[in-house]
Subunit: 370 residues, 3 copies
Amino acid sequence: MIPKSEIDEILSKYDKNNITIATICAHSAAQIFQGARKEGLKTIGLCTPDQKIIYDSFPLATPDEYIMVKEWTDVLSKENQRRLVEKSAIVIPHGSFVAYLDNENLQNNYRVPMLGNRQSLEWEGDRKKQREWLEKAGLKLPKEYKTQAEAGEKVFVKFPHAKGGSNYFTAESDKEIEDGLAELVRAGKISQEDADNRTLQQFVEGDRFYPHYFYSLTEDDRQVDYGLKEGRVELMGMDIRIEPIDESYRGLPNVSRKFFDYTVTGNEERIVREKLLADIFRMGISTVNKSKELFPPGMTGPFCIETVYHPETGFVAFEVSARIVAGTNLSTRGTPYEALTFEERTSSGRRISMEIKNAIEQNKLEKIAY
Amino acid sequence: MIPKSEIDEILSKYDKNNITIATICAHSAAQIFQGARKEGLKTIGLCTPDQKIIYDSFPLATPDEYIMVKEWTDVLSKENQRRLVEKSAIVIPHGSFVAYLDNENLQNNYRVPMLGNRQSLEWEGDRKKQREWLEKAGLKLPKEYKTQAEAGEKVFVKFPHAKGGSNYFTAESDKEIEDGLAELVRAGKISQEDADNRTLQQFVEGDRFYPHYFYSLTEDDRQVDYGLKEGRVELMGMDIRIEPIDESYRGLPNVSRKFFDYTVTGNEERIVREKLLADIFRMGISTVNKSKELFPPGMTGPFCIETVYHPETGFVAFEVSARIVAGTNLSTRGTPYEALTFEERTSSGRRISMEIKNAIEQNKLEKIAY
Amino acid sequence: MIPKSEIDEILSKYDKNNITIATICAHSAAQIFQGARKEGLKTIGLCTPDQKIIYDSFPLATPDEYIMVKEWTDVLSKENQRRLVEKSAIVIPHGSFVAYLDNENLQNNYRVPMLGNRQSLEWEGDRKKQREWLEKAGLKLPKEYKTQAEAGEKVFVKFPHAKGGSNYFTAESDKEIEDGLAELVRAGKISQEDADNRTLQQFVEGDRFYPHYFYSLTEDDRQVDYGLKEGRVELMGMDIRIEPIDESYRGLPNVSRKFFDYTVTGNEERIVREKLLADIFRMGISTVNKSKELFPPGMTGPFCIETVYHPETGFVAFEVSARIVAGTNLSTRGTPYEALTFEERTSSGRRISMEIKNAIEQNKLEKIAY
């Protein structure tokens, strides 16, 4: 693990009047670039040829500079790292950034300052660590089982590497699980190792609510009464992810297998009953607080807790994303929630650049980047 | 029933340059506070300790003053009423306000001026009166039955006190109804009295559309050609409510009982085919007009008609909410419909404060408060 | 077909400082009027008495002038054409415009300049031509079959004239198709001719994404690297259409026939995974390019490609709408996508008026109207 001091050393030499926002051109890069532009910051897009059309086609989301790469892992090259550091770049890690570059690389070989705490990517990326984190934060999690028989109800079969939910399936017997795994391996969709390391999770009935948070260290301590140690946990928006299963009812009465697919394809906005926001804020605060204990100085910046709510069971959290989530792509024209915090419409992408500017002004850039 | 003259007397002593907007901290209070602030009005939040985190966490929705209560019914205390009147407060009734404080209390013991006409809360709160109102307004309603056998099709089993749809269920036989009721009573979820007073309603197939209206008495009579007696019926937005049943398809092929739950958990935005807006406006206008006859001077301010639309049957209205609905919480960054009426984005919460300011300016506050 | 030169001749006499935007009061007229007002252009609404309530009820969407007609076909009268030309009107064709007035009339008898290329309406209106267009543009289409037996899977039964999807149905056997058609004919819902000309289309599993494009000829050639011959293909927003089938799951476990209805009743906003936007832009560009070959000078202005996406099959395009679609009615307060192109919120309606103003300024009105 690259020590924090090494990144701080790099940051200390940055030209604070010419900070650049950099990220790879995927996932939520469009709003990150557009938000930086709104805040008057320069942008660099690390881009593959097939994705460039997206960012060239959105005039307000075209980065000031492209660094073209053939494969995503080229982002890790010494030369590309050097170019970013030379431009006083802070890299914004997002879902694809983590998925394409691999945590081990980011922890050990990537010497460009990143927004937030790079340790949090490790804690979100490892299913066991993530579970430990959320459990210790006092959140309610789906139960996990060794067999379906033990569960005695429908279970969700998940794999170590999320890849946007692809190949996940539900099953109501151990035979069904076995057959499903064998078929996936045979089709080359998962490895035998993945099959062996499948997790059986309780299938939680209820409505999905994915709150988009932003943990700021440059704002007043408004929530100190609620146990937050410093800063402010903001609610930026809320969504659900759309997967083929979400159109499965259109296949009624005989729904074909192809609809039972949990790969994320898009997002829709959703808001929650106002009284439930108390739980939403409490979950956000305790998750932030616990991160400070588990991997000091803890998580900062955008994050999301993926939940299912049912009146009988309350919120069950089945995932935490310790970085910007793609659902925030809904937020470029504002959301019902960020409007309660900001006068001007503020996407999560813009919020990131605001935080960086505030941190520079308050002379605490090293608190929000690692 | 507190006579109108008594409330008018209180209003007459109000400091018109320092009107305060007050409501209990729940349901749609965040947008009400944020909207008042936008319009330059002071705010008071009547709040329980467990809900305060919500309003403290939204900087633009934090009321200027909190009045803390242990239980919601403490809102009704003489002392708390006095404090509000002292601050020239107009109370905004919303769904939780009505649910927590009980109509009888509000009608007979609550001497703080409320936006709108407090009689309308009685007409919406009593299922029979509500039905009379909508039927006389010419709206198409779901049929009601004594038994499922009479219906000959699936029926919706509903209870006298809505409580956000909790415990409602559908059934296809009288046996199923009997068993369902017995189970709910046994589980302590409903009282035997509720079970005895269950309503069997036609299960209406189609798409839900919940238009959010605002009936203004301070605007031009644009709709006099369409029968509206005075003022303007505005369309502020539209939503559907999310309930566990709305994710039930994710439990296919064997959907568990827990998904058949109609408790409201959240909301999503939805718009309707443009030509159908003619019906939407006509329903709004006739519902307003009929209210003027049934409980003069009738309903004013925000309201909602909950409908299901099917191409073969048109709109069926199964409910009217004679006050702000939680679906308008979607509107703080504007909606596709209010944009056709207002230059600046106008949530229903903000619209309320605009109306109060306009009424003061036009010297007709007593027309919009009771 | 009225020759282009004849329309150009009319356009050449227009008062370029007093262009008027005209359309029939239906479908997406509200945003078209509101957008024109934002851009400072005058508006004329061709309106039937029963629809006028809609446009009178939205202050910012009330046209400056109404031309009242008893039936929609009266729009085609010489007198009404003369009145529009006299006012230097450009007509905006939308879904209802095409449905009510019939393509043959528009092609041969309607001598008012229309936004875009009136030939594109013919190419979208004829199912075979549309298929040819999209196939030649390289898009993936649903397979078509002569019988269900040939398909060997569930098929979608569609009719020559779309009418918003009404009477479409799915079937899993040829017997079911036969019975379904016979019943529709018997009920007078479709003609025997429609039944004979039914199309059997592959039922495509996946998530719907309906991107709203705008093809501008007044903007920089940003996408020339991606094969676009001139101008700019913009992404304005995205939606799904709501039909009764979309609430069918609420009828579980025994979903009644009435829910299996594909008539469009409304819309909801949806966004797609960012990486998939590359395909979205490529589909838009190739569809535009191909139109230039098939019916020069090709399609301009707003259009939509209706798609279903599944991770295993990619995007399948089942329709192109070569004019503004009703899903853009979501856009009056902006969308997550147009925010990446425009500083101020820009609905498709407003975009139309911007394009017309730009074209006048650049002296190329005849390029965007026919």
